[in-house]
């Protein structure tokens, strides 16, 4: 397929504008004017429409195919949630920030406030800020809150503890806030080594960041003990909400002892991801951290009206403009209300059931390095296929040929040749059975014709990319 610049024909136009009768050039200072015309593609409107429609047909998404990308919770984003965003769009709460604007934004402020209450109820926290714009942004906000807490108490803290199975953003967020990272290895049972944790814990530890269930898809049976140990040295325990989809309505992080939680609305609450985003990473905290929450904060007054609190000397300040990604919150709010308590509990149970079903149907062919009942995702290793020189990446590419978005590979880092599958609750048994059949075919092909797997994918617009060359020679300019 040609790039849009390659399709460009000089002087071709989609829209012919009338010539300006405003002497704009005369009004703008010379240094702000272009010295030469912008290098833009020149096409007709139909050329542009066809170009982008063709591109969209090459795109892969949950709407086109099963997308079992582990740790990312690629659940279906119900179309009705888009309505939630569309209906609320004209009522953006930023108007509340204007003088006297609160009365004009009561509905959207009420939604934001209720959203915070719902997330607080789901996570067992006392209060929630919806400002952060993504999960990692939530992590950084959470660690900043913890740092503010320690500063206010005069605590001398230096370290943040993370297990080696954690998402890379955990140590990165803590390092960004200025802490040194202490990494704890994983014990043979698949969770943070408790003895190593005890040995690393001291008065200078500011926080312990845990993902529970962890990135192996396993629920940590020692989680309460870890929280208690951390609290004994006045360290806060941070809950990475990436895997919250596994435990909705089953256990609340706040009840276990976690002090700070971030929630990925785009994972757990059915809103689009990444490039299809924007995302949203609300942060919930226990009482001790409430004074440090970002401003402006939506509050409910005694007369039941909603307002905006802006002045609080202890606050870490503003982490995003205009209350965060309001449209994403509107979708997630609609999702939570649509499913309700029973629906959320059911979603988690089906997510866990689906992951266990996939694991049970594939574990005779793929090694399961930590073989236990899993939560919402299961982690295999392609170690057995490696005997035929077939790697996780080859299996992933084979899946593309069969019409699937590949699962996560090579993460978590503690599993050699990891293949991490998260089906989510929105997939039917028929879809899972078809996927399982293809995974079984991949394992069989690894034994009978490993060379064939090395060639995949063959059905895509471009076949196997030279990822090494792409990473070593990062020239992304079109010339």
């Amino acid at each position: 397929m040609q790039l849009i610049y390659e399709k460009s024909v000089p002087a071709r136009r989609a829209v012919r504008m009338p010539s300006s009768d405003v002497p704009a050039a005369a009004m703008l200072p010379r240094e702000l004017l272009r010295s030469e015309p912008a290098d833009l593609p020149e096409l007709s409107e139909l050329d542009v429409v066809r170009h982008f429609t063709q591109l969209s047909r090459r795109n892969i998404g949950v709407d086109t195919t099963f997308y079992p990308l582990g740790s990312c919770t690629m659940k279906y984003n119900a179309k009705s949630l888009e309505d939630g965003a569309r209906i609320s769009a004209p009522f953006h709460p930023m108007i509340a920030l204007l003088p006297g604007g609160e009365s004009c934004a009561q509905g959207s402020l009420a939604m934001l406030h209720h959203m915070g209450e719902l997330l607080a109820e789901i996570t067992g926290m006392d209060e929630v800020t919806c400002q952060p714009l993504a999960g990692a942004h939530g992590e950084m906000t959470g660690i900043m809150l913890i740092a503010a807490y320690h500063r206010a108490k005069g605590n001398k803290k230096k370290y943040v503890i993370v297990p080696d199975s954690s998402h890379g953003t955990n140590p990165a967020s803590a390092a960004m806030v200025g802490y040194e990272i202490v990494t704890i290895p994983t014990a043979p049972y698949g969770d943070m080594d408790l003895d190593a944790f005890r040995a690393a814990l001291n008065d200078e530890v500011a926080a312990v960041m845990m993902t529970c269930p962890n990135t192996l898809g396993l629920f940590n049976p020692h989680i309460k003990e870890i929280c208690d140990l951390a609290h004994s040295v006045d360290a806060m325990v941070y809950y990475d909400g990436a895997n919250l989809n596994a435990i909705l309505g089953q256990v609340r992080p706040g009840d276990v002892g976690f002090d700070v939680v971030h929630v990925n609305l785009h994972k757990t609450f059915g809103t689009p991801h990444g490039a299809g985003g924007p995302g949203s990473g609300p942060v919930g905290v226990k009482k001790a951290l409430v004074p440090f929450l970002p401003m402006p904060r939506v509050i409910k007054r005694n007369d039941a009206s909603f307002g905006v609190e802006t002045g609080n000397p202890q606050s870490i300040g503003r982490t995003a403009n205009f209350f965060g990604n309001f449209g994403v919150m509107a979708k997630a709010y609609a999702y939570i209300l649509m499913l309700g308590r029973e629906g959320l509990i059911d979603a988690s149970e089906k997510a866990v059931l689906n992951a266990n079903y996939v694991m049970a149907r594939l574990k005779d062919l793929y090694e399961v390095p930590y073989d236990q009942t899993c939560m919402h995702e299961c982690v295999f290793s392609a170690a057995r296929q490696m005997q035929h020189d077939v790697h996780a990446i080859d299996i992933a590419k084979f899946l593309i040929d069969k019409g699937y978005h590949p699962p996560t590979v090579y993460f978590p880092l503690i599993v050699k040749e990891a293949i991490m599958i998260e089906p989510t609750e929105t997939e039917s048994k028929e879809t899972l059975d078809e996927f399982i059949a293809v995974m079984r075919e991949a394992a069989e092909t690894a034994e009978t014709d490993p060379a064939a797997l090395k060639l995949a994918p063959l059905t895509t617009p471009v076949s196997r990319l030279d990822e090494t060359k792409a990473a070593r020679e990062q020239n992304v300019c079109f010339t």
Partner: protein, 124 residues
């Protein structure tokens, strides 16, 4: 006589006088796969034993490289900046990463000999 020691994190360190030359082992390079980027330490940087010295990225993962001994970085292998593939071709020779001026020569007692390291690899 230079002597070489190894760490559990798969670094090697060659000791010549008070200069310690550091790199990663062939095993580590093989595990990483095609190396795409080596983030060399700054010359003059001081590190303690087993603290992060620098970092390496491959098509599979980004990993920290730990200092096998304490010391000050006196030189780095700049060739790795433009040709990181040397790590895959010659991890234990041409792809040395940094030379440290050693702070405490007794620290090598915490490291493994070649035989011990080979034994350690068998257990992985």
């Amino acid at each position: 006589m230079p002597s070489t020691y190894y760490t559990k994190e798969h670094e090697w360190v060659k000791i010549e006088g008070n200069i310690a030359t550091v790199g990663i082992t062939d095993f580590a390079a093989h595990q990483l796969g095609d190396v795409t980027f080596v983030e060399l330490p700054a010359t003059g940087k001081s590190v303690k034993q087993f603290e992060v010295l620098c970092a390496i990225e491959s098509v599979k993962a980004a990993s920290d490289i730990y200092a096998p001994v304490s010391g000050k970085v006196v030189s780095v292998n700049e060739a790795l900046e433009t040709t990181p593939e040397i790590v895959n071709e010659s991890a234990e020779a041409a792809a040395w990463m940094a030379c440290l001026e050693m702070a405490d020569s007794s620290e090598v007692n915490k490291l493994m000999s070649r035989e011990q390291y080979d034994e350690f690899l068998k257990g992985l």
